[in-house]
Amino acid sequence: MIPGAVREAVARDGERIVYVARERLLEAMTWLKETPGEQYNYLVDVTAVEFRDRERPIELVYFLRSLERRVDVRIKVELQPNEELVVDSVWGLWHGADWLEREVYDMFGITFRGHPDLRRILMWETYAEGYPLRKSFPLRGRFSRAEQVRQALNANPEAHYSLEELSIADAGGDLPEDMRERLRRGERGVIPEPPGP
């Protein structure tokens, strides 16, 4: 029995779906990976689903596979849209979750606690329109075309690069407040002026 399992279902393709309580996700995943006889050692994919019915919870879906036993299982966590979208990261179990969780964060705004480098991945870091795959996000974006063009031209993502930028990846959550403020404004990695004579 998977720890934290709430209920089970079967998908239309015949796969087993197990719903797990949000608080016990990491426990369940560790159990699935390390218990002999389960050995789900391969993370296929991580994604999220938001339904058109806004009352329904957002589902976070993990596709697991046991390479030894050639068996798949789908683990789901339900997140109520009115509460904080936070869940534990499984990066410690599978490093493959690194970019997959970053993408879910980027597209749905779900935060993964304990992820070493939770930044936007497909959208640029100063993207201000929200989370594109949420149902509340209009197909053409929130801002007007003119505003989007203006912001895109000002974003200038590859104009500067610096050691500071590299250290952001390391620092993760514990950046100093003023640096975080500057990043939020989009001023990042500005090459410092050379010292005067």
Partner: protein, 426 residues
């Protein structure tokens, strides 16, 4: 792999066994007692997004100590088109053109992946002829994708000739694709429940001719590269990942198999009756760039084998399922038969409704496992269409693989991942 017994001794000209130069001009100043210490200061190099060796719009910020990569941070998203969001606003058949544009080096097999997922969701069984034709489409895609990979990777490492040979063969497949679908790149081959068209009469003899002559080119590439000292020196031991690391990073396809994990979706979770074909799963053992090259090269031979078997068994019969709710009636019938016209109208205006539920189908794409995950709420448009992008996930291991290698090796490692940015960014 038995081919891997090559020992290299690259002699550096002008240097004796102790590393001292053999020819020193008479005017040379004596060597300083102590070389200046140049370590410690790291250099940042920005590679891309517009750089031929990043295979598209990938940007890498590389921290270098001398020529050694200390850290490599990929930046993505330059080609982000929001396909998954667009899919939520389209009927299932209207999504198929979007799949062409994800992994645009193997469009036909992407089409097949989506169609299989939609059919699983709707519970449709496709016809035997369609199954075999889809296998042909998948394996043709594998060959062209691996040919592009071989060509571009060899050019990245300075070998120009295999590039021309590979692209010549790729062009022959493109001719076949054009013959079948009318398009070279954006094929949109499949429909839910079938195909957009049957193959023309001249297709089978032309493809058979291709399968007979294509291995010759592979042999030539093999002869030129596999025992080539420069090729082996640039690729052996570069970017190696152990089997455990490859699994931990969720790698798939040739990247996973080169590390020695014998997982192939075609064998282990068969779709399109792949279990009835006779082919071998190619597995490497060192997990470096050289093994990835060997795996992909051998996979081309195996694809060729599958193509021959598929041509031999290609049955006659319809390509579309006999279900007026999912397959459009012919134009003549739609114009003369009342019922056919209603079905035509309903399909075009309302689309094909899928029952409530979800389905995931993973197929063995040339780059790795391409997953299509569809969630339906009973309407004709999916609530969520998720692509499991193989090259996106394979690329996520790049910083790990590049660590400690030379900058020039980073180019080789990046090439060996076989990324296509249309799919990475979607």
């Amino acid at each position: 792999m038995s081919k891997r017994t090559l020992e290299l001794e690259l002699a550096t000209p002008g240097v004796d066994a102790q590393g001292q130069p053999t020819r020193v001009p008479l005017t040379a100043r004596p060597r300083p007692e102590q070389e200046p210490d140049l370590g410690g200061e790291h250099l940042l190099v920005n590679l891309g997004p517009q750089h031929p060796a990043t295979h598209g719009v990938l940007r890498l910020v590389v921290e270098l100590d001398g020529e050694t990569v200390v850290r490599c941070i990929p930046h993505l998203g330059y080609l982000h088109s929001g396909f998954e969001k667009l899919g939520e606003y389209r009927h299932y058949n209207q999504i198929i053109p979007l799949t062409d544009r994800t992994d645009y080096l193997s469009p036909m097999s992407n089409n097949v992946g989506l169609a299989l997922a939609a059919e699983k969701l709707m519970g449709i069984e496709i016809t035997p002829r369609c199954t075999v034709l889809r296998v042909i489409a998948c394996e043709m895609s594998r060959i062209i994708s691996h040919m592009v990979w071989l060509g571009t990777t060899s050019i990245d490492l300075g070998a120009f000739t295999p590039f021309l040979w590979a692209f010549q063969q790729r062009e022959r497949i493109y001719d076949l694709q054009e013959m079948w679908t009318g398009a070279r790149l954006t094929t949109s081959l499949t429909r839910v429940g079938g195909l957009m068209a049957d193959i023309p009469d001249t297709f089978v003899p032309k493809l058979r001719e291709f399968t007979e002559t294509f291995p010759k080119t592979l042999d030539e590439i093999d002869r030129v590269l596999t025992r080539n000292a420069v090729w082996a020196g640039r690729t052996q031991g570069v970017g190696a990942l152990s089997a455990a690391e490859a699994i931990n990073y969720s790698l798939s396809g040739p990247m996973l198999r080169a590390s020695g994990v014998p997982y192939d979706v075609r064998k282990d979770k068969p779709y399109l009756d792949y279990e009835t074909y006779d082919f071998d799963v190619v597995v490497g053992e060192h997990g470096d760039v050289y093994d990835r090259y060997l795996v992909r090269l051998e996979e081309c031979y195996q694809s060729n084998r599958i193509l021959r078997q598929a041509l031999d068994r290609l049955p006659d019969g319809p390509i579309n399922v006999d279900d007026p709710r999912v397959i459009l009636p012919s134009k003549t019938r739609a114009m003369s038969d009342m019922e056919a016209m209603i079905f035509h109208f309903k399909q075009v205006m309302e689309g094909v409704k899928a029952p409530v539920g979800e389905a995931y189908v993973g197929i063995e794409n040339p780059k790795g496992e391409l997953g299509n995950y569809l969630v339906s709420d009973g309407t004709a448009k999916p609530v969520r269409w998720r692509i499991r992008p193989p090259s996106f996930i394979n690329l996520s291991a790049l910083p790990k693989m590049a660590e400690g290698h030379l900058l020039s090796d980073l180019i080789a490692i990046n090439a060996s991942v076989d990324i296509v940015m249309g799919e990475v960014d979607r």
